[in-house]
């Protein structure tokens, strides 16, 4: 709320505190217009990168001052409802990162993906309930990794290996179970292979977790077309129900203790099952009543012709999509496949569009897909694209063989490509720092800077 950091000067002047003659970082930062139009090369840059500016400066003279302004303009604003990043952009970015991760088993690259995603989450997540899911996904990833390695140790690995780390006692199995092995030799190669495999899965999970933490799932569903709105509401309601259910379980287990029964163990969990379900049912009935009383499901009068057209278009479109896909995949109908598929898709879209006419709903402040959303989504797409390109270019570096054992090297270009994924940490609107202290520790708490939400602006200031 204080708004202290927002008018901070852009990075360059901050890094060079006034060494050059005629440099006045303060005004140059606060009011960029004179710097932009008047002085051709403002001195702040000179302190660090004189030669480069000289070279570039000869090409496009006078634009460097404009860059300060440009940067100031593009500095991430405080996040609010008005400039909220489109949820879809975060998902595109996260799926791009995940795609990149799925293309490599190089441990260093995977670690880089996790680090990039983690940094973006730390810098840009809010204190909303859904943002807390990131930790859960991280733990899930670790669990997947551990399970994969344990399996490789216990059940052996198909990878041939020469470096035996340890030999477990092997369980003798009958001959019909040939090919299955329990215990036995554990090779370093097998372990490395399992580790990489597990790490890949874990990285995918972390990417999904990042999207979950950064994008409000309810907002994503709000972007659905009108005809699918009711399905979207069902999902939103289900999502808000899950936390209630967890809270109910905790409360009822606590109540068992009040009755003098054990509150731990599986039995305790099972015995509260019925009351929890009862409570959930009652709550959903109450919610349904409230939604009904608030106008959920009001429909507009639509002429019968339009209704029939909607049904026909949607059904026909879906049939077309099926037929087109089949034709594309089978050998015989290659010629008709694509057109049929496209026509089917178009018809289905038109059906959805027409179906939307039945609902009288309007949307309150839909998220806008602005330039920042393009940048965020674009950075994810670029990361994926670069990684896919790199697989063709240098497969060995991305997928180093497990046998023979080699130390992984960090291929320079793919790694540089991955770093593009950091872009959202700079362009997406930054969450307000104070709110984390407020919600987590109550109003009267003078909370010394806590958690990632408040350390993010600090990093920004340093940068």
């Amino acid at each position: 709320m204080t708004g202290v950091p927002s008018p901070a000067p852009p990075p360059e002047p901050a890094r060079a505190p006034g060494p050059g003659p005629g440099t006045r970082p303060g005004p140059g930062a606060d009011t960029p217009s004179p710097a932009g139009t008047g002085t051709p090369a403002p001195a702040p840059r000179a302190a660090t990168a004189v030669p480069r500016t000289e070279v570039r400066g000869s090409l496009r003279d006078g634009e460097d001052g404009g860059r300060v302004r440009w940067l100031a303009k593009w500095r991430a604003p405080r996040a609010g409802r008005g400039n909220a990043m489109h949820a879809g952009a975060w998902w595109v970015w996260a799926l791009g990162m995940a795609t990149a991760a799925s293309r490599t088993t190089n441990v260093l690259l995977l670690a880089l993906v996790v680090a990039v995603a983690g940094y973006v989450v730390a810098a840009r997540r809010t204190d909303a309930p859904w943002a807390r899911s990131y930790g859960a996904f991280l733990r899930l990833g670790m669990a997947v990794l551990a399970i994969r390695v344990v399996f490789a140790v216990v059940l052996g690995s198909p990878i041939p290996g020469t470096h035996v780390v340890l030999t477990l006692p092997e369980v003798p199995l009958p001959h019909w179970a040939q090919g299955v092995r329990i215990g036995g030799r554990v090779t370093a190669e097998g372990l490395v292979f399992a580790l990489r495999d597990g790490m890949k899965l874990a990285t995918l999970l972390v990417c999904v977790g990042a999207a979950n933490a950064l994008a409000n799932p309810a907002r994503l569903l709000k972007s659905l077309p009108g005809a699918l709105y009711e399905a979207g509401v069902a999902v939103v309601v289900a999502m808000t129900f899950a936390p209630h259910l967890v809270a109910d379980v905790a409360r009822l287990r606590a109540a068992r203790r009040l009755r003098g029964r054990e509150d731990r163990g599986v039995r305790a969990l099972l015995q509260v099952g019925l009351p929890v379900l009862e409570g959930a049912l009652e709550r959903s009935v109450a919610l349904a009543a409230a939604m009904d009383a608030r106008g959920y499901g009001r429909t507009a009068q639509v002429p019968a012709g339009v209704r029939r057209a909607t049904a026909a278009l949607t059904l026909g479109g879906l049939l077309g999509v099926c037929a087109g896909t089949y034709a594309l995949l089978s050998a015989s109908g290659g010629r008709y496949g694509l057109p049929v598929l496209l026509i089917g898709l178009a018809a289905a879209m038109a059906g959805l569009r027409l179906g939307g006419r039945r609902s009288v709903r309007t949307r309150y402040r839909p998220d806008r897909w602005g330039a920042r959303a393009w940048l965020v989504a674009g950075s994810g797409a670029a990361v994926a694209g670069l990684m896919i390109a790199a697989t063709g270019y240098d497969p060995a570096a991305l997928d180093p063989p497990a046998f023979p054992l080699t130390a992984p090297t960090l291929p320079l270009w793919p790694a540089a490509g991955l770093l593009l994924g950091l872009l959202p940490a700079f362009v997406a609107p930054a969450p307000a720092p104070a709110s984390s202290a407020r919600t987590s520790s109550g109003p009267g708490q003078p909370g010394p800077a806590s958690g990632p939400a408040s350390s993010a602006p600090a990093k920004e200031a340093v940068r």
Binding site: G80, R81, A128, P129, N216, A218, V233, V236, V237, T240, P243, H244, R251, L252, A254, A255, R256, R257, L258, R259, G260, R261, E262, D263, Q271, V272, L274, P275, E278, R283, A286, L287, A288, A289, A290, M291, D292, A293, R294, G295, Y296, G297, R298, A300, V360, R361, T362, R363, Y364, R365, S435, T439, S440, S441, G442, P443, G444, Q445, S450, G451
Partner: protein, 548 residues
């Protein structure tokens, strides 16, 4: 605006109608209060206005209900959504979205209001209800009073002509309740909204009402009149009315202000008597100063701190409760009252400090052993009840506590006669359910009894029964700690009041002293008869009897 014409509602499977022969006409811009003991059909009456009865609940509605000229028989609730806004008892079950701003917009989205109109109305409503600071907050992180205001705001944005509220303030602390009522009054006065409201805590609302609908017994037709007329005959009434009846004032005062103007003569009559509160203060003063004498403390917490996640819910709390003592824990929603009680039964381990109940450390004691030392009736008594019938619940309680078969059932009968054996705990009234939960807890004979918000949803009759039982228990040597927002209850029952704020004890002393020193926690009688420390109508009545 709202018209009931000879309305009778009979639910499916019920032999008797829930309400019978209701004829009502509520004009525009009135605040109309529905009053009556629990179970007389107040919620049914409210539900009939929004059309949820019978469209959603089922059952048979005879007669006709019209709202703004629309007949609820032909209009379903969703078609009345633009004229009637309904807020139920539990605001949490009302929310569809997850942030404040979206919630305010939800109703308008369903009605298809144009986007720029929506935007304007959301901003207006944020200001009207003082929610502007909270606009981006997740609803789950708000306090009870804030949630109630969001719930009211979410139906206000569609500009309904009628607002229907079922117990809007019963879960709120006194401050938050005032906030909500101030908003309602503003709506009635400035916007001409018609408000129909049911509420048990009459002391909070009755002075704002223009009209009172009194349902005195199930199935009886309602009586409508001005608040003063109705309070003269109502079986449920706030303390200010009780005092007015006692002193024979006519017309009856409804607010503390009215009553104070009339109370001069009464104050003079009472000047001769010593208020019991003053006597109690004198008596307890030495014992609280040198805490050596008196029985051994049953509950002892020293420098207690409890954390939940990163939040410090309690900090440096000291509390001692002795046998036979009744302590009321007060403070606003979220001050840490419930956490303190749950720490005393070992649901939370202290982060620092010590806690000891009946000689045991609660969180290290096995539940089976702990129930013999301390019992807690949680805020939602239903959490304690698992079985299908009252009888099964009692049998289970006997088994859990290792008590003789039938002891729980005997306790239930003693607390509240007439609880049917084969009823499902869910179908009991609030008062019956509380009695059952209390009996279940008392079966193990714990010397320490903790109650969290025991009077939420209780009418005055159920409340006075509860007070009588708790007095009896205290006299029998139980130590009782109750967390409550109900200042009248605290004044009536407690020997000591402890006020928590932001996880710390900010006041701890004899009830009279603490509640009289703060206007927010003073009961109505004390406000009327100040500066003499009279707390309840009962005290005044006894003193007057002694005088005459």
């Amino acid at each position: 605006m709202i018209r009931f014409e000879d309305v009778t509602v009979t639910y499916e499977g019920a032999t008797e109608p829930a309400v019978r022969g209701v004829g009502l006409d509520i004009p525009e811009g009135e605040l109309c209060l529905v009053v009556g003991p629990s179970g007389v059909g107040k919620s049914t009456l409210l539900g009939a206005v929004s059309g949820l009865v019978p469209h959603f609940t089922g059952g048979l509605l005879r007669g006709r209900v019209t709202v703004a000229g629309r007949d609820t028989r032909t209009h379903r609730p969703r078609e009345l959504a633009d004229v009637v806004g309904t807020v139920g008892q539990d605001p949490l079950s009302h929310f569809v979205t997850d942030t404040v701003e979206d919630e305010l917009a939800y109703g308008m989205e369903s009605l298809g209001v144009a986007p720029d109109t929506m935007r304007r109305r959301v901003e207006e409503t944020l200001d009207l209800l003082g929610l502007a600071e909270l606009r981006d907050r997740p609803i789950a992180s708000l306090s009870g009073g804030q949630q109630q205001r969001v719930a009211i705001g979410s139906v206000l944005t569609v500009h309904p002509k009628v607002l229907v509220l079922d117990e809007p303030t019963s879960a709120l602390d006194p401050g938050a309740a005032e906030e909500v009522l101030a908003v309602l009054q503003r709506l009635v006065h400035d916007l001409g909204t018609t408000v129909l409201m049911a509420e048990h805590r009459l002391e909070r609302v009755v002075q704002y009402a223009d009209q009172v609908v009194l349902l005195s017994a199930p199935g009886e037709p309602p009586v409508v009149g001005t608040p003063a007329e109705m309070m003269a005959v109502s079986p449920v009434h706030p303390p200010v009315v009780g005092l007015g009846r006692l002193a024979g004032w006519s017309p009856l005062p409804l607010s503390v202000r009215d009553a104070r103007r009339r109370a001069g003569a009464l104050r003079e009559r009472l000047a001769a008597c010593t208020p019991p509160a003053a006597a109690a203060v004198d008596a307890t003063d030495p014992s609280s100063a040198g805490s050596g004498n008196g029985p051994e403390p049953l509950v002892r917490a020293e420098r207690l701190a409890v954390r939940r996640g990163r939040a410090e819910v309690l900090r440096g709390v000291d509390l001692t409760v002795r046998a036979g003592e009744t302590v009321a824990l007060m403070g606003r929603n979220g001050a840490g009252k419930s956490t303190l009680l749950s720490t005393l039964v070992g649901l939370h381990a202290p982060a620092a400090g010590t806690v000891e109940v009946g000689g045991a450390v609660p969180h290290r004691t096995r539940p089976a052993a702990l129930v013999r030392r301390v019992g807690l009736v949680p805020q939602e008594p239903r959490d304690l009840l698992y079985a299908d019938t009252v009888a099964a619940e009692c049998t289970a309680a006997d088994r859990d506590a290792g008590a003789a078969p039938g002891s729980c059932r005997a306790l239930v009968a003693g607390l509240l006669p007439g609880v049917p054996d084969d009823a499902h705990p869910r179908d009991l009234s609030e008062g019956q359910r509380l009695a059952l939960a209390l009996a279940v807890v008392l079966t193990a004979r714990p010397p320490v009894l903790l109650l969290d918000e025991p009077t939420r949803g209780l009418d005055y009759a159920a409340k006075s029964r509860l007070v009588a039982h708790l007095r009896g228990l205290a006299a029998a040597g139980h130590a009782i700690v109750l967390a409550t927002h109900d200042v009248e209850l605290a004044a009536d029952l407690a020997d000591r009041v402890v006020i928590l704020a932001d996880g710390e004890v900010v006041a701890d002393g004899p009830a009279a002293e603490v509640v009289l020193s703060s206007p927010a926690f003073a009961p109505q009688v004390a406000k009327i008869l100040a500066p003499a420390p009279w707390l309840t109508v009962g005290q005044v009545a006894r003193a007057l009897e002694a005088v005459s």
